[in-house]
Amino acid sequence: MNITNFLVTGVGGQGTLLAADIIAEVGLAQGLEAKKSEVHGMAQRGGVVVSHVRWGERVYSPLVSVGAVDYLIGQEIVEGMRFLHYLKPGGLLLLSSETLPPPSLTLSKIKYPAPEEALEAARKVTDRVVFIAAPKLAEELGNRRVANTILLGALSAQMPEVDPKFWLDVIVRRVPQKAVEVNREAFELGRKMGQEIAP
């Protein structure tokens, strides 16, 4: 069974579920079966959010397995690291430079890891790592909310078998009307960043 596995991880409020929805819909747009499942915290702000997406001719399980993820999209450094063990050897890690230190750190000795630590840990699993200053780039585009679209652009660059038109169509359909243009720009910028390493 030929199935492509994605895991999108972030913190409540980062738009993890929308990003995963878009990935799932791009699967459908190609005529594949797609399933999506999420594990998220409760109603309060700021919990861990993880979304599983799978594409294939026939997909039964909506959950991906540890060690089987082809594309891990970490929208925040710690949440990217927390799910590294899901990545299959040689899989792709797309990591945003976003740092959101959890409040548990105030009364603990543990420190928020530096990006270098995240990248070092990742390289033990794979040499395919794209680290993107998505929040900074998004701010430069004038809209912090497009950080995810930048990541999706980078992801699309790593999946040359998928026509970028599919991605853009779904993104345009799923973002607010007045933000369509900036999302297009963000997607194109992301595609450029994603070409940093060979797909």
Partner: protein
């Protein structure tokens, strides 16, 4: 035909709508909440949040008696609350179709237990359908309405978190509507006094046998022949994992969890060399097959505890020798990462109450809601939490056993309960305490919504699910009317008033009630810009860390004298509540400027 990605819950709502449902009632509870939220948006449906699950089911039963298709939805533990109504409606049967959705939570993503509600179908002698994906969630819900009318019975549909919250493709259809069925007064059927109930019991037994016969040939129970060396019986979410882990095996996929089809199972068992049941939680199917005298394996291979995943099913199968092992040890997650447990939001008014209660060193019998989070560090305020509404009764029992007075000064036990939980099941417990004059203090955290499950309306807010005019019920007035002689209503942010009320309530000889108006930041806003640490004044004493506000972080700046990091307030998260300002003993926190609201 349109095809679209729907979650299991959205698909259940869609199925109910296409099947012509007209009345739907629920009490929120993860993972079931979105069913009513979705159904409420469809035309031609009356949908309500009831005060609890039992009321929701009674509302749906009444509507079905009256001749309109009706649905009630709840999380697994909600069916415990509604179980009385499940049992009598099994006896009375229905008129128009009645479907009850139970959404179970294997793995306890957001629940206090992982009970397996398939047992309720058997217990109450009603049929249960069990979908594995969103298309089935829609189809089975529609089928459930037909079965309900055909067999004159309520029908349970059991989902689980993984079915309710996973999205997959669903083919959408049109809505069929049915003329209202005529209600005919029929006490022998609808009045469950003993003489009538005795008449109904044999009807129920006979109905179950007819349903079993139906299940023998039902399309929802299907055999998928593969290699006959291994025959897998599976259902629900577990089927999805089993199908991927054993791509070659033969499958008996059971879409109907109860009653189970004896001949079909015998036929399947006879045709395979080894019979294995892959089911989440209890050995429900397995035990039933074993009782037929058929050799079968199941829970000796697969866990009884927790949610299944591909990994859980594969590893168990490898250990049992059903699959060759790939030999690799599973990769471990990185150690020592900062944890991110759920915490109350920045500015949550529940924090005020627990901060002051901690100071008063009382035994706290708490309840279920966002305020359950006061159990984790740094507040660690809570002594007990059981199920919704338990706080007041448990506090009463502890008070009668003298425990409340054992920590230092004589003090009463304190029950802490949210507004939604108060209306759900707190009121009878308070009535008991008043009636028996049990000396407890009840603190009702009135944030005017059902916060934990996503900010639904409730009797304390008066907001209704479909935006019809509702009525807000004043909790302090309820307490007074119930005969509570000390009742105070305060704003949680007014610490002086809140502390005074708590102390007076604790000193009051009989039952006392403090209603605290706690702001939920999803519904109400504070009127100040973010607060700020005055770096020169902060010495890193950690006091403000101890209220547990997620907007307060460690600064990179270290205080030279104490060697400790100073505090830092993240302006992106601070909502300007002022709790940190109130705890800081060094006046090192500066309030944000008042926000000018423009209309």
């Amino acid at each position: 035909m349109t095809k679209t990605l729907l979650s299991g819950n959205e698909a259940i709502a869609r199925g109910a709508w296409e099947a012509g449902v007209e009345i739907a009632a629920a009490y929120p509870g993860t993972p079931s909440t979105e069913i009513l939220q979705t159904l409420a948006t469809y035309d031609g449906v009356y949908a309500e949040w009831s005060a609890n699950e039992k009321v929701a089911l009674d509302v749906a039963i009444g509507a079905a008696y009256a001749g309109k298709r009706a649905l009630a939805a709840m999380k697994h533990v909600g069916l415990n609350v509604a179980s009385e109504s499940l049992f009598y409606s099994s006896y009375t049967g229905v008129n128009a179709g009645l479907v009850i959705i139970t959404a179970d939570d294997p793995g306890m993503h957001s629940s206090q237990n992982e009970q397996d509600n398939r047992n309720y179908a058997r217990f109450a002698k009603v049929p249960m359908l069990e979908p594995s994906n969103s298309q089935e969630a829609k189809d089975f819900t529609m089928l459930a309405f037909d079965l309900s009318e055909q067999f004159d019975t309520p029908v349970l549909v059991r989902s689980t978190t993984r079915v309710s919250h996973a999205k997959s493709v669903v083919a959408l259809g049109e809505r069929t509507t049915y003329p209202q069925r005529k209600y005919v007064k029929n006490p022998a059927k609808y009045v469950m006094v003993p003489s009538n109930a005795r008449g109904r019991h044999p009807v129920i037994e006979e109905r179950l046998e007819r349903l079993r016969e139906w299940a023998e040939t039902a399309e929802v129970n299907r055999i998928e022949w593969g290699d006959r060396k291994l025959g897998i019986v599976s259902a629900g979410a577990a089927y999805n994992y089993a199908r991927e882990v054993f791509p070659e095996a033969s499958f008996l996929k059971l879409g109907m969890a109860w009653p189970l089809p004896e001949r079909l199972i015998r036929e399947f068992a006879a045709a395979v060399d080894e019979l294995v049941v892959v089911e989440e939680l209890d050995p429900f199917i397995e035990n039933w097959i074993r009782a037929l005298g058929i050799p079968v394996r199941g829970k000796d291979i697969f866990p009884m505890v927790g949610e299944f995943t591909l990994g859980v099913v594969r590893e168990a199968a490898e250990r049992a020798g059903l699959l060759p092992s790939d030999g690799g040890a599973p990769v471990q997650p990185l150690a020592d990462l900062p944890s991110r447990p759920p915490v109350m939001c920045a500015g949550c008014g529940h924090r005020d109450v627990f901060w002051l209660l901690r100071k008063l060193k009382v035994v706290i019998n708490s309840d279920i809601g966002c305020y359950s989070l006061a159990v984790v560090p740094p507040l660690e305020a809570t002594d007990t939490i059981g199920c919704m509404g338990a706080s007041i009764g448990v506090a009463s029992g502890m008070a009668r056993a003298g425990l409340g007075t054992q920590r230092g000064r004589p003090r009463k036990n304190v029950a802490v309960i949210g507004d939604s939980t108060f209306f759900h099941s707190g009121i009878p417990a308070l009535a008991s305490a008043v009636y028996n004059q049990t000396p407890i203090t009840v603190v009702v955290l009135d944030n005017r919504n059902t916060g934990m499950t996503g900010h639904q309306g409730n009797p304390a807010s008066g907001d209704t699910l479909q935006g019809r005019p509702g009525k807000r019920i004043d909790i302090a007035a309820v307490a007074r009317a119930m005969g509570v002689e000390y009742v105070a209503a305060v704003e949680s942010r007014d610490w002086d008033a809140l502390e005074k009320a708590l102390r007076e309530a604790l000193d009051f000889p009989g039952p006392a009630v403090v209603v605290s108006h706690d702001i939920c930041v999803f519904r109400e806003h504070y009127t100040r810009e973010p607060y700020r640490i005055i770096e020169d004044a902060c010495n890193g004493c950690t006091l403000c860390f101890r209220i547990g506000c997620p907007a307060i972080l460690k600064s990179d700046v270290i205080d030279v004298d104490s060697g400790r990091p100073k505090a830092y307030i993240d302006p992106a998260q601070c909502v300007g509540c002022g709790q940190c300002y109130d705890v800081c003993a060094r006046q090192a926190i500066e309030p944000g400027a008042p926000i000018e609201f423009q209309l």
